[in-house]
Structure formats: C-alpha cells, structure tokens
Symmetry: D2
Subunit: 136 residues, 4 copies
Amino acid sequence: MSYARQMLGSYPSDFKLDADAEVLAAVIGAATDCAQACVTDTDADLSEPHLAEMVACIRLCLDCVDICTVTAAVLSRPASWDLLVVKPVVEACAAICRSCGDECERHAPMHAHCRVCADACRRCEHACGEFLTLMK
Amino acid sequence: MSYARQMLGSYPSDFKLDADAEVLAAVIGAATDCAQACVTDTDADLSEPHLAEMVACIRLCLDCVDICTVTAAVLSRPASWDLLVVKPVVEACAAICRSCGDECERHAPMHAHCRVCADACRRCEHACGEFLTLMK
Amino acid sequence: MSYARQMLGSYPSDFKLDADAEVLAAVIGAATDCAQACVTDTDADLSEPHLAEMVACIRLCLDCVDICTVTAAVLSRPASWDLLVVKPVVEACAAICRSCGDECERHAPMHAHCRVCADACRRCEHACGEFLTLMK
Amino acid sequence: MSYARQMLGSYPSDFKLDADAEVLAAVIGAATDCAQACVTDTDADLSEPHLAEMVACIRLCLDCVDICTVTAAVLSRPASWDLLVVKPVVEACAAICRSCGDECERHAPMHAHCRVCADACRRCEHACGEFLTLMK
C-alpha cells in the first residue's frame, strides 16, 4: 500500500474525506510518478544528439513537472478542499499530461525514456479524469 | 525593473510573446511575492498563542504557496503556451488568493503578518484577474 | 519497477550514470514518498484537537516537504551532476528527515498519521545515508 | 520594502529572529528572483537556434531553479531553524548560483536573457555568502 494511501487512511477518526481514498491516492501517486518521470525525461532529452527535435518534448515536460507537483500537493491536503481551487488544478493536470503524453509518444519508438514518460503521463491523465468524474 | 520584466524583454528578437510583457511580469511578480508571504505567514501563524483560530489561515496559506509558485513558473515560460493549461492554473490562483486574502484580512486587525499577507494575496488576485481578462 | 528506476535505465546508451541506478532510484523514491507523507501529515496534524502539541511536528514537516522535493528533483537529473551541489542537498535531506522522523515518532503512539510519516522519514534518511556513503 | 522584509518584521513581538532581518530578506529576495530568472532563461535558451551550445546553461538553470526555490522557502520560515538543515541548503544555493552564473556569463555577450540571468545568479550567490558569514 502506498504511503499516500496509508496517510489518507490515518486521519483522526471523526474526519471524513470528501473523495474516495483509493481514487485520491491513485491521482496523488500518478501525479508524483509523472512529475519524476518528466524531470528525468527532460534530462535525458538534453542528452540526445538531435536536440532540435526534442524541444517541444522538453517544454511540455517542464510544465508537466510543475503542474503534477502542485496537483499531488493540493490533493495531499484533503482536510479542507475548495473545489473552486482543486478542480481547475486537476483539469490543468489532465490537459498538460495529455499534451505531454502525446509528444512523448511521438518519440517513444526512438527513445526509451520518452516511452516510459509517455506511460507515466497517460496514467496521470487517466487518474485525473477519474477524479474529475467523481467530483462532478 | 524586475528581473521578470527584464527577462521577458530579452527573448530572441524574432520571438513574439502571446501576452503583454507588463501584465505578464506583474502576475509573475505578484504570485512570487504572494507565495513568499504565505510561507512566512504560515510560520508566523504557528507562533501565535491562539492556534485554533489560525488553522483555516494556515491551510489556505499552504495551498496558496503551492498554487502561486506553479503560476509564476508556468507564466515564466511563455515561449509555447497552451491556454488549456495556463488558464485553469491562473483561475485556480485567483480563487485561492481570494479565499486566502479573505481569511488573512479577518486576522489583520490582530496580526500584522496576516495584514501584510492579505495585501500580497489581494495584489496577486488582482493581477491574475487582469491577465485572465486579456486572455479572453 | 518504479518509474524512477525505469527512467534511469532508459538514457541514451552511451550515457554513464555517476551513481548506481538502484541506489539512486531508491533515494528518489524515498524522498518523493516522504515529501507526500509530510504534506498529508501537516494536514492531518492541523485536524487534531491538541494543536499546540503538534506545532513542532508541523514545522518540521513543512521543511521536510520542500527539502525532499528538491532532493528528488536534483537526483532525477543525473546527466551532469556537480557534487558541490548534490552532496549538501542530500545532507540537508538526511538531517531534516532525521529530525522530522524523531518528532513524528514521538506522536506515533497517539496518531497513526505520524506513525506512517515517521516510517517514510526513516526510509528517506536511510536512503540518503546509503547514497552519501557511495558518493564519498 | 519587499513583502519578505515586511513579513519578517511582523512576527509576534516576543519572537526573536535568529538572523538579521535585512540579510535574511536579501537572501529570500535574491533567491526568489534568481529562481524566476532561471525558469525564463531555460525557456529562452530553448528558443535559440544553436541549441547544442545552450545545453550546459539549461541544465544548470534547472538545478538553480529548484535549489533557489527551496532556499527561499526554508529561509522564509525562520521561527525554528535547524542550522544542520539551513546551512547545507544555503551552501548548495551558493554553489549552484556560482556555476550557473559562470555559464550564463559565457553566453551574456550573445544573449541578453543570459546576461540578465547571470546578474540574478551573482546577486543570489553574494547574498548567500553574506548569510553564511553571519551564521558562522
């Protein structure tokens, strides 16, 4: 069981989460993994010989890192959510993961790091989508 | 002139910003200041004797730090914006700055740190609003 | 296999990591988990009735989040390390995880969230220690 | 007066800062400015036609962003410092600002964004040095 899932199960007993703990832990885990993968993908992209082809990928990864990081952080503080804040954050996360995943996928046949990163982006996009469906 | 404003004026000459550099630098500066103020306000709130009254303020400040930080970062990379990403980020920033500013203002008569922080939140909320109006 | 481990194994083939990929992925994973646990522990601490007793824990968690996050990020870009930068970052991470783990452990008998968080801190402190031993 | 300086002057009156508020606000301001400048310098570097020459600069800026951000955050919570944590963080910040400033300076004659960024790095390196001298 992930630390995120354990932590969400360990609140004071009279505390009631506004979201399903499994779904929430899944987004937190996926966003955290995606942020890490995008940091390393940027670093690996910069090690490739045909740099000009990697620029779009690097730019998307940089935004993806920052937005996945804030998504994981905001969702990791569930005790007093404001949906006016949480929803646009998760929407931005789904959007950047879709764009970044698409771009990484283009490079996946040539670069293993882009293939792994595309997978992390897809998983995070999917987890954000599940969360947003529940929050409607 | 802020570093943000100088940096935005120093792109390769054939590069055309998608937003007015003054407005953009104003949001970046306000979000950066607000993030810093909220970090310190959290720390100062935790130093107050009547802690239970400060919990809502601390919680809002924690979200405000993270969202202002990502807003400043995403806007500081203007070379290839995706409005599907940028807009919800700035909307989330305006929303959390409004809530955090309201709560800080409640404590402003008692605590100077909340008064300064409320001011930083208001300025960031206003700058985000100006930016969103231009982006419509 | 974690994304961190997969990503580190997917660099261009002529690239040589300066550190053992298993050890490196372990620190990245532990620091990422610890940052997440400390974000949630702060949120859960603020939900406890005896707040004054939780202040030290909250303060340490706040620093631990930021330092674990930067540690994971810097180590996730292994292509061109400067040990003058990497070493003090990991040393700061080991130090804050030790202090934060000690404080969380004090609360572990009363609060499950502090028990889980103490475990995440210990694991990260240990992983940082292994890494620093290898880097000597 | 910067928000950082105002915030540091607004703690509860019985609270005694462990560092001179002017020096502290100077590091916080310089680290925050440097982080922002490095985010934008990365974005501008990626817009240059001779990308291969910019790789070292991009890599250093990426680390500089993360380390300056954590430095500003940790120093913005002065209520309960642990020098075992604060000192290596500021040392890492001084080290990365020196390296990043050196590299940006090499590109300064060709690229205005690197010239501005070099200046932000130098100012932060200097502010960290002043702080470390005081903390001895």
